[in-house]
């Protein structure tokens, strides 16, 4: 239910699990939650002990208690809001652009054999090559301003979304298309009322994958070329040997990542409840 891998098969699996919420699976989920909390507590505990007993230098490695008090401090003084807002806004803008561009283009490419043939190799390559490798070139092209960072976010988010939407549009049920034809639906109606909803599970899986990559893109961009944002904040604090603050900012980044992917997963359950069994 909390799958983070993003193939089409994971969409189906999630749907099926949701279709049969038996007593046992609910119990299992609680057990997993408890086990997860124990595991996390064990690691944090060990870290705290190491830092407290001087096995590691907390000035170097920070410590859970130090990071926690820094976190509280960052929120109390309001220091965190500006970088947090910067990172969130760049991720959300990047996602918005990726979604607005990716879904229509994906549907179009998936439904058009010539377009698919033309673009498939390119998109596969762009998807497979680690986008970080384009970073120097993107800096060269776009500079290091906010626009350049937005380009990197879109660059990292667009291709996983595109790949998923194309796969969904290509996997349309031939029966559904024939129904659409037999009832004289226009091309536009077929796209909107048949192709789009049928592709929705793939679109949402693509968005779930894209949102994770968009966040990574944003942080990487801020690390290398930022003057603001959480990535820059971590970079700055680390260079100043303020490990507790850096660690606290990482906690905030982790929280964003979890909220974003879980949010999309929630949308998936709400919007594609019908795709349970087939």
């Amino acid at each position: 239910m909390t799958t983070t891998q993003l193939s089409a098969s994971s969409v189906r699996a999630a749907g099926r699990a949701q279709g049969t919420p038996g007593r046992r699976s609910r119990l299992g989920r609680h057990a997993n939650l408890i086990l997860g909390a124990i595991g996390l507590a064990a690691v944090l505990g060990a870290w705290q002990i190491c830092a407290a007993t001087g096995i590691v230098d907390p000035g170097f490695s920070s410590s859970p208690s130090g990071a926690f008090s820094s976190l509280v401090q960052l929120f109390r003084t309001g220091q965190i809001w500006s970088p947090l807002g910067q990172t969130l806004s760049i991720v959300l803008w990047g996602m918005l652009i990726s979604i607005v561009a990716g879904i229509p283009f994906g549907l179009l490419i998936g439904r058009n054999k010539v377009l698919y043939g033309l673009t498939d190799p390119l998109i596969s390559i762009m998807y497979s090559v680690p986008y970080v490798v384009f970073l120097p070139m993107l800096i060269f092209w776009f500079g290091i301003g906010a626009n350049a960072r937005l380009v990197i976010v879109v660059w990292s988010a667009l291709f996983p979304l595109l790949i998923n939407v194309i796969a969904g549009a290509r996997n349309l049920d031939a029966n559904h298309l024939q129904v659409s034809r037999a009832f004289c639906a226009s091309r536009w109606m077929t796209l909107r009322s048949v192709a789009f909803p049928a592709t929705l599970p793939y679109i949402l899986a693509g968005i779930r994958q894209a949102v994770g990559r968009a966040l990574i893109g944003a942080i990487v961009a801020e690390l290398f070329m930022g003057s603001s944002g959480l990535g820059y904040f971590v970079q700055l604090k680390t260079s100043n040997f303020d490990m507790d603050d850096a660690m606290a900012a990482i906690v905030v980044i982790a929280a964003i990542a979890i909220v974003l992917t879980r949010g999309v997963a929630y949308l998936e359950r709400r919007l594609t409840f019908w795709s349970g069994s087939d």
Binding site: N175, M189, S193, S275
Partner: protein, 279 residues
């Protein structure tokens, strides 16, 4: 039957598919000629894979006519049109639409989902026995229920010609019997007079006899016309009819026609399909 003004004219009709590799033309139907009258219920039977479904999709306008006449209301069929509706064999409902929205699809596609259209959908929901299930999604429906929705979706656009492609073949025996009765009831109840013109493709001979005014027997592929059998059984028809001597007599006659088509040159692995015909 009033054959003076035929609804549907089929004359010297050839249908087929261009195979992708080699570019050869695989003939599915050859030299078919018959006529269907207004308000007539026609069933087409024939050995499995003989081209019945291709014929039906040609009527729907989904398969192009290779040569010959295929005329509905004196106009050659050249593509899908609102005057025809198809009830599909498989579960072809849209899983993301609830029952009501699935039934509305045809009307919506043809821009006719106004107040009158909605009224018609509401009528059909109760006519096909889906009252109270409007908000259900296809995954929550049984096979029989799904085919009721399928039928209602086809009837919603109020077509001149209703095409049914083995709609009950995936159902269990009891549900199938029930749905056959339901179909005759709906067909007789819907619209003015004695129902719409309907073409029903099946490989189940008793089903064909029970439903149809005339049964058209196709040969094994490529399909040619073997015989048209008049079913002179009174309407309204109920399940008891199937036990009558006349029903048996007609069924046996058609069955022997189909079987004789299945025999020559058939390979043993097709025997399973023949068993279905002879159930």
């Amino acid at each position: 039957m009033n054959l003076a003004r035929p609804k549907l004219v089929i004359e010297d009709l050839r249908l087929g598919h261009w195979s992708r590799r080699g570019g050869s033309f695989a003939l599915a139907c050859d030299g078919l000629s018959f006529e269907v009258a207004e308000n007539e219920f026609i069933a087409i039977v024939g050995p499995s894979g003989c081209g019945k479904t291709t014929f039906l999709t040609a009527l729907a306008g989904l398969t192009p006519v290779a040569s010959g006449r295929l005329e509905l209301n004196d106009a050659q069929i050249a593509g899908p049109a609102p005057d025809r509706s198809l009830v599909f064999q498989q579960a072809s409902l849209f899983p993301w639409r609830d029952v009501k929205a699935n039934i509305e699809f045809g009307l919506k596609a043809q821009g006719r989902l106004d107040g009158k259209g909605r009224e018609r959908v509401a009528e059909l929901v109760s006519l096909v026995g889906l009252a109270g299930k409007e908000g259900k999604y296809p995954r929550e429906l049984s096979g029989g229920m799904s085919q009721r929705v399928n039928l209602a979706r086809a009837l919603a656009t109020d077509p001149d010609l209703l095409l049914l492609d083995e709609p009950f073949s995936a159902l269990d025996a009891q549900t199938r019997e029930l749905m056959q009765e339901e179909l005759t009831r709906v067909w007789q109840a819907d619209g003015a007079g004695s129902g719409k013109t309907a073409v029903f493709v099946t490989h189940d001979v008793p089903e064909a006899v029970f439903l149809a005014d005339r049964v058209v027997v196709f040969s094994s592929g490529p399909a040619r016309l073997v015989e048209i059998v008049e079913v002179d059984l009174p309407r309204p028809r109920t399940a008891e009819l199937k036990r009558s001597a006349r029903f048996q007599q007609i069924s046996d006659h058609i069955l022997s026609l189909v079987m004789s088509q299945s025999q020559p040159g058939r390979r043993p692995e097709y025997d399973d399909d023949d068993a279905v015909v002879g159930q």
